[in-house]
Amino acid sequence: MARITYREAISQALREEMHRDERVFIMGEEVGKWGGTYAVTRGFLDEFGDRRVKDTPIAESVIAGAATGAAMAGLRPVAEIMTINFAFLALDQIVNHAAKLHYMFNGQIRVPLVIRTVGGGGRQLGATHSQTPDVIFAHFPGLKVVAPGTPADAKGLLKSAIRDDDPVFFIEHATLYSVRGEVPDDEEYLVPIGVSDIKRAGKDVTLVSYSKMIQTTLEAADKLAEEGIEAEVIDLRTLRPLDTQPIVESVKKTNRLVVIEEGWRSFGVGAEIASRVAELAFDHLDAPIRRVAQAEVPLPYNKRLEQLALPQVDDVIRAAKDVLYLK
């Protein structure tokens, strides 16, 4: 176990998998010479050479399309799309090709592709570079969508994604790269895709979140504990396939649910989980389900307005108290 950053954890996973399986290669804008926009692949070009570390033109549809083709042909590409906002330019390749080929050709083709990308706001990058549109990608069957919130999960999930035979859309968070945590050194350390994780056990209220917001939620849970409220915190880790069972079990215990997401509320993760819980645990609810999410505006550039629009610890505490009927 070593205490390393989220950035180092991802870098470690990539390096280990590239050593383990020579079909694994990386491609994307500035992943080679520059070492990656977030310095994840620094040193990779020297270590693995330009056949396995490929700088690409600034053309996301090319990156996603070429990677899909390479995967169909038997390689295991890890394509980097610099930010999730640019993945919109490659939406056709991702959702109409990568996600569907296995189904449309009667299982004859597999697409063992990983698309690594970076989402989230909070760094004053303006409305078009700060989005959290994770749910758009989670909407499509055929695509697995993973979004880790801790260094350990980032490493274990990326390794699982690279070993998975289906396309995985892997969403990192721009403000998590310098977050540190205990990460196993083990080269066979894998976190299964599609399994949520109870990050903190509690009995009074269930808080569900993922990615950056799991950190915010855990901080809120600490503060709630100071007031004697024991929150159970569940980290989704994967948006598709969504692991609902731990949430249902938790709600049966606490009777109260708050879902915290960084993206917008409408048609969001909270909406999906709220309806699943209403379907599977309706008779266990003691309060309306609450969602904590980003204000429904394009994210402002102004620092204070940006923070105001993003969910904060106090918002989580307020919502938890609301469902507990506390002032």
Binding site: N255, F282, D283, H284, L285, D286, A287, Y325, K327
Partner: protein, 417 residues
Amino acid sequence: MAELISMPKLGFDMREGTLVEWSKKVGDSVAEGEVIAIIETDKANVEVTSFKAGMLRQVLVEAGTVVPIGKPIAVIGAADEPIDLAALGVEEAVPAPKKEAPAAPVPVPAAFAPQEPVVTQTGPVIASPVARRMADELGIDLHQVTGAGPEGRITKRDIEEYVKQRSAVPAPKKAAPPPIAIPSVVPTGEEYRVEPLSPMRQTISRRMTESKQQAPHFYITSEIDMEAALALRKQMNALLPENEAISVNDLLVKAAAAALRQFPNLNASFAGAEIHVHEHVNIGIAVAREVGLVTTVLKDADKKTIAQIAAESRELIARAREGRMRAEEMVGGTLNISNLGMFDVEHFIAIISPPQAAVLAVGSIRQVPVVKDGQLSVGTRMKVTISADHRVTDGTEAARFMQAFKVALEQPMRLVL
């Protein structure tokens, strides 16, 4: 700037209070700290004081209304300033209508309709899904349950409260009464009459059950020679006017406070994974009222002289007896003393009042035969029993505490120094 006075929270489990009467009328001027209303909690009547000087500009609830804690009850402001209730954050300016009269009746979905015809109240009930399921499983008519949630929503907690209260009242037995042997007693046909539990009895039953179920009690009884303490009290009272006289109880409070300072582990609370050792020594004095028992709290007893304790406890006990306790006098006790000495009891055992770690039960001071240096003589003795929470302390520590308490009373000059 006008400010709101809200229903205060007095005690950790209080959820609502009844506004018994307004002590001030709208338009009366109010000094800071002056009593503006009397409220009744499940424990006692309590005075609500204003934290601001000004004029009572508006009352937001009528006398006799049950008000949830935190809900505004009055507006205090300058005589001439305009009052904008909305700006103060008050949602409704008029007293809320009774729950039984909803504005727009909503039909109950068939799936939720009671299986049997309901002969009591009918109409829509707002209840959370889990509350509905529990009511269904337990055979509870939701119309019988009071909802404490928003807009009267019945929640899980309300059902649990209801079940607790229901189980406190034994269900009438169907079996025929057994024949009564004594001919002079005229059978009434009823084995007992049913009296609903008062809010106070409910609180006492809940808290005492909780204590006996959760706190492992152990008991240590000490016999204390009270001769010197009574002599000292006589000397002190000779110097004091009658209405400032010192009682035996005042000496007990002082002695207990001094002993707690020596054994701070007993001035503590069990709190799950940890123990909270209290910084202040606040002695709770149990006061019997006809409706039940209340405890009034004498703060920082270790720092006060006996005369101060006497003056303060006289005032506290009088207010407790008359049901005029103030909020701060009901909470924060770290050790209770229950004295039944006036009822000629040799000794007794008390139940710890959570979250305290111990309680002292004091019996009568009696003249008893004692053997001293092989000689039989008449001594003045009092028995005191400590009930202590074994999660917090052990027998030896409690015994040493009792020893310190005993020494303080047997050499009472220590309490004056």
